[in-house]
């Protein structure tokens, strides 16, 4: 089992969510977050005073998946998150030791 984490542009969430659902993904966790990478921040101007905003709003998607499904899920995210512009985000995959469904106590792949 793997945990797929994607940091994306907030405006891309709807497209990605729809595409993942169409690809058969059963669940995901989405959170609003902030951060910076190569995009750095942007400048805002208030009454002539410039402020650099270096933490930019992003959306984090987390998906637990069987090993065999990981590549196709990552591909769906990449295709739908890409605008070609700096700041499109990142996707990474980590191994997961165990997963338990709270309601039933099912473990491993059955819990996904």
């Amino acid at each position: 089992m793997k945990l797929i984490t994607a940091i994306i542009k907030p405006a891309k969430l709807d497209d990605i969510k729809a595409a993942l659902q169409a690809a058969g993904v059963q669940g995901m966790t989405v959170s609003e977050t902030k951060g910076f990478g190569r995009q750095k921040g942007h400048t805002e101007i208030y009454r002539g005073a410039e402020y650099t905003v270096d933490l930019i709003p992003k959306v984090r998607i987390e998906i637990l998946a069987e090993d065999a499904e990981v590549e196709s899920i990552v591909d769906v995210i990449l295709v739908n998150a890409n605008t070609g512009a700096i700041g499109d985000g990142k996707v990474w995959v980590m191994p997961v030791d165990s997963v338990v469904r709270v309601r039933t106590g099912e473990r491993g792949g059955d819990a996904l």
Binding site: T33, R47, G48
Partner: protein
């Protein structure tokens, strides 16, 4: 014989002007950081409470009671507003109840001291502010209101009755007064922690725009109500207010578009306020085209003035000096150039209407007297409060935010990260 039409308009205007102070609370509240927005708004509401109590007890009497000698202050004959009941004020044929006038003028006192609070956002002890409101209304606002507003057949306040400077709705009493007091307070309290280092951007621009709209709306009572009658003069003041406010909103954003490449919502809101400020003393003395000129100048001038605080090094947090102080001075001086008796027979003639330099020099004297008195007195009051009960919060309280420190509340339940 009470004129019911005039009375109705002044009563309505009192309500309109009172509405400006909650509007100011929202305008200012949106401009500060989320951790101190309630404190910012509370300063305005405290101004309503404290000023009203003073006004009924002795404020109206000292400001608008019969002059006690040299045009400097009224007397105690109207204490408690008891004898004011059933009295009338106003010109022949335009009598209104003195209590309608007292209520109308009360709302001016309230909004003036509330304006000052913008200079000391995020760092003043709440209790000290409440005390400051009472002392400042008593020692600064009431005298200046008497000087410029207490017209008593030539024997009232010295600016209006003896000097003969023209100030229709409070360029001196409200705008220059609040602007100079704001400068003194900003100097005494010092800069916010992290001034110029940390981003202190407005936490809610829609609130700022809503507040600006409330102020704009209330300003019609402020300016057109100052005619104290419902006729030509009120209509002139009203259209002039609209023209200058709208023109300054546009000229500010055009100026910043040229300077920084973007037109901002804070710019359009600030420009509107700067225009309304600048037309305040002039609205009953100039033509609509004169008002247009004043508004077009007010936007860029106030915008430029605001930017100077970084060079001069004082933290007038919400730009009371640049918008109200400089805007008020512009408005007062503009009368010396643009005034015309076509707009108001009781007014004057500015230089472009073949008037003499004497009007401009009277305007100048009124400006300087108000500015020097307001700055000096406010500086002394603020220093005394600082040295006794303290005016500035502790460092940790400032970092934590004043909402939890003083009011045990927070404006928003935000679980997101980022600058609170």
């Amino acid at each position: 014989m009470i004129n019911s039409g005039d009375t109705a308009w002044v009563l309505a205007s009192g309500a309109l002007v009172l509405f400006m102070t909650p509007g100011l609370a929202i305008f200012y509240g949106g401009m500060v950081r989320a951790k101190s927005v309630l404190n910012m708004m509370m300063m305005s509401f405290a101004a309503i409470g404290v000023t009203t109590i003073i006004w009924v007890l002795y404020g109206y009497s000292l400001a608008f009671g019969p002059d006690s000698g040299h045009g400097l202050i009224g007397n105690f004959s109207q204490v408690g507003l008891t004898k004011t009941i059933n009295e009338t004020v106003g010109a022949t044929g335009h009598h209104i109840p003195a209590l309608a006038f007292a209520m109308f003028q009360l709302t001016f006192a309230i909004v003036t001291v509330a304006l000052v609070s913008g200079a000391i956002a995020d760092r003043a002890k709440y209790g000290s502010w409440v005390l400051f409101v009472g002392v400042w209304i008593t020692l600064v606002y009431i005298p200046v209101a008497h000087w410029a507003f207490a017209s008593q057949h030539g024997h009232g306040g010295w600016i209006v009755d003896r000097l003969g400077a023209l100030d229709f709705a409070g360029g001196t009493v409200v705008e220059i007064n609040s602007g100079c007091a704001a400068l003194a307070l900003a100097i005494v309290l010092g800069k916010r922690n992290g001034f110029r280092r940390d981003p202190m951007r407005p936490h809610n621009m829609p609130l700022v725009l809503l507040g600006a709209g409330m102020l704009w709306f209330g300003w019609f009572g402020f300016n057109a109500g100052s005619a104290l009658s419902a006729g030509n003069l009120a209509a002139t003041a009203m259209i002039n207010t609209q023209v200058a406010t709208a023109a300054a909103a546009m000229s500010w954003v055009v100026y910043e578009k040229i300077r920084e490449g973007k037109s901002t919502t804070l710019g359009v809101a600030s420009g509107a306020i700067a225009g309304a400020v600048a037309i305040t003393p002039a609205c009953g003395f100039v033509t609509p085209l004169g008002a247009l000129a004043i508004g077009l100048i007010a936007g860029p001038l106030a915008s430029f003035a605001v930017s100077r605080k970084y060079k001069l090094g004082y933290d007038d947090s919400l730009d009371v000096v640049g918008v109200h102080g400089i805007g008020g001075i512009l408005g007062m001086l503009s009368i010396g150039f643009l005034a015309t008796t076509a707009a108001n027979k009781a007014g004057g003639l500015g230089l472009i209407n073949h008037g003499s330099l004497s009007l401009l020099s009277k305007q100048f004297i009124a400006i300087v007297a108000t500015a020097v008195f307001s700055f000096t007195m406010t500086y002394i009051i603020a220093r005394v409060i600082s040295k006794t009960i303290g005016f500035r919060v502790y460092h940790e309280e400032e970092l934590e935010g004043l909402d939890t420190t003083f009011h045990a509340e927070s404006a928003y339940d935000l679980t997101g990260s980022g600058n609170r």
